[in-house]
Assembly symmetry: C2
Homo-oligomer: 327 residues x 2
């Protein structure tokens, strides 16, 4: 029987580009985040990755269902590979209960990249406890980053608020639309207009593509600062199924990357993201510690005081927070 | 110009049953909770009320739209008044942005009780910041409790999860259904079957009432412990618009109250509720303190360390929580 590899060893092997080590690390953070594995594993993997992450450019790929996100992601991978770049793909589906850990499914899904040593593909779906995906995704991203990917694509499969949350992890966000879907209104509703750094009108060989591009450009003149001060999101046309227009998309991503670096915007975004991540983890820690106090001294007695009118819930909460500090 | 009354003075007057003082106190907690007034007012009112609350029996009235919740609440008030009990009503609408502080609207809505000194009616709706209602409702409940109400009815106007949350404040929860609405399935979906202590099939003079009662009873045989160990929710029939069956509903509420007291279940529920309330307030305090750290030392530096790979977000969160304790 093979000895279970330790985290530092796995990280070393992932850095050398070993696909199995990458897959194993992502499984560890998934299991740690959704309650099926050791929650401490999230910490351990994050700690081991910290010195080795930060080099990848993270690109979010989002848009309403049916615009061809999967096809576009696959075509983007091809275009990036033609330039010799190492590419990671996280396909995140917050609305699906199916685990995407299945490498087989990923290979079928992106069959053409299955045997390419320079491509790392992973599907992640909600499993186990709610919210697990939110904890696992940033660490999975760091795994692909540490594995030396030049670009990591995060493709959201589902729709809704969680989709926007996932996209917040990206340096550059592509918003995909397609002709004749009432896209403008849909996109505005989904709140994805504001997060777009690059618009891609896919299926541009279809009727109405020109109109969709015009509508988008018109809308952009109203939101002058969309995408950050000084950056006006371009509106590109692709036919991803035939690979048309993909090199222009790659060029737009690179242009945005240059803009991010030049004005210090990348740094600002990454700092804001790190602050948000630290805060979320800290709040979760506090929540867990309050949970611990529940069974022991503290909370039950305070609740008794509130019920009997000896104190009120606000003063009781003060006591509780003070007790956390003393722990 | 009249001097602005202090909170202790208002509480004294509310305890003597002065309607204006009750209304004023509820406005203070509403304003404090939704960001339009002094957030400290929530604390001040809660502290002043603590010694005087806990006597009222809190009854939640919920159910899908169209079952006649308003009419039933009004009929219940009448039935309780006939027994000389003092009654408070909180009509909570988490889905509406309209402020219900308007006494006029309340009086129109429950016109017949408008001049009754023994009835306190207040509508509360979402206004100002999201979630404000969740903080205001428990304190508004305490105001009516301290005002000497024997029974406080909380009627939810909206639908969805927030509805279920509001009902959690109740000692006894009535779930209203009506014939021919596919109620069983609807109720099961809304998750209100589990929270019901008493089922009321309203509009029982309509076709299908018998079937709805039968369906409910059938469903209840599958969920043997619905409503707590040893209590089997009765299924009653009313025609609230004509006041029919209301005394049976009052009797069922009283029966449930006796059951709650006898087995210590009321105490257990109130303790659990107090624990949840204290926890929520404590977490909110921690969140606010983390927000304070954001602008000052601490968080920005930790974020910088994470971005540069000097530490990982989990260790950074440890630091942040430790900093909270030192404050």
């Amino acid at each position: 029987m093979a000895r279970r590899a330790g985290v530092p060893d796995l990280v070393e092997r992932a850095r050398r580009g070993e696909h199995l080590a990458v897959a194993r690390l992502i499984s560890l953070v998934e299991d740690g985040a959704d309650g099926r594995g050791d929650p401490g594993m999230l910490r351990e993997v994050a700690a081991a990755l910290a010195p080795h992450a930060g080099g990848a450019h993270v690109v979010g790929v989002t848009g309403p269902p049916g615009v061809g996100k999967s096809t576009s992601t696959s075509a983007l991978v091809r275009a990036l590979r033609e330039q010799g770049r190492r590419v990671g793909v996280l396909a995140v589906d917050p609305s699906s209960p199916f685990s995407g850990g299945a490498l087989l499914g990923d290979r079928v899904r992106m069959g053409e990249h299955a045997t390419d040593e320079g491509v790392f593909i992973r599907s992640m779906a909600t499993r186990g406890q709610l919210g697990g995906l939110a904890w696992a995704t940033p660490q999975a991203l760091r795994v692909l980053d540490a594995a030396g990917c030049d670009v990591v694509l995060i493709e959201t499969v589902g729709v809704g608020q969680s989709e926007v949350d996932v996209v917040r992890l990206a340096d550059t966000t592509l918003v995909l639309l397609a002709p004749g879907m009432g896209d403008g209104v849909q996109a505005a509703k989904a709140g994805i207009l504001e997060v777009a750094d690059v618009f891609v009108v896919n299926k541009a060989d279809r009727d109405g593509a020109r109109q969709t591009v015009r509508d988008l450009r018109h809308m952009l003149t109203f939101g002058d600062d969309a995408g950050g001060a000084g950056w006006r999101p371009p509106v590109l046309r692709t036919v991803a199924a035939r690979g048309e227009g993909m090199s222009e998309v790659v060029a737009a991503i690179d242009e945005h990357r240059v803009w991010l670096d030049a004005g210090g915007e990348r740094d600002r975004r990454r700092l804001a993201r790190a602050e948000a991540e630290i805060q979320a983890i800290a709040l979760e820690q506090v929540r867990a510690r309050i949970g611990d106090l529940r069974g022991a001294r503290g909370l039950p007695e305070l609740a008794r005081w509130v019920v009997t009118g000896r104190t009120d819930p606000y003063r009781a909460a003060d006591e509780l927070v003070a007790a956390l500090g003393r722990d």
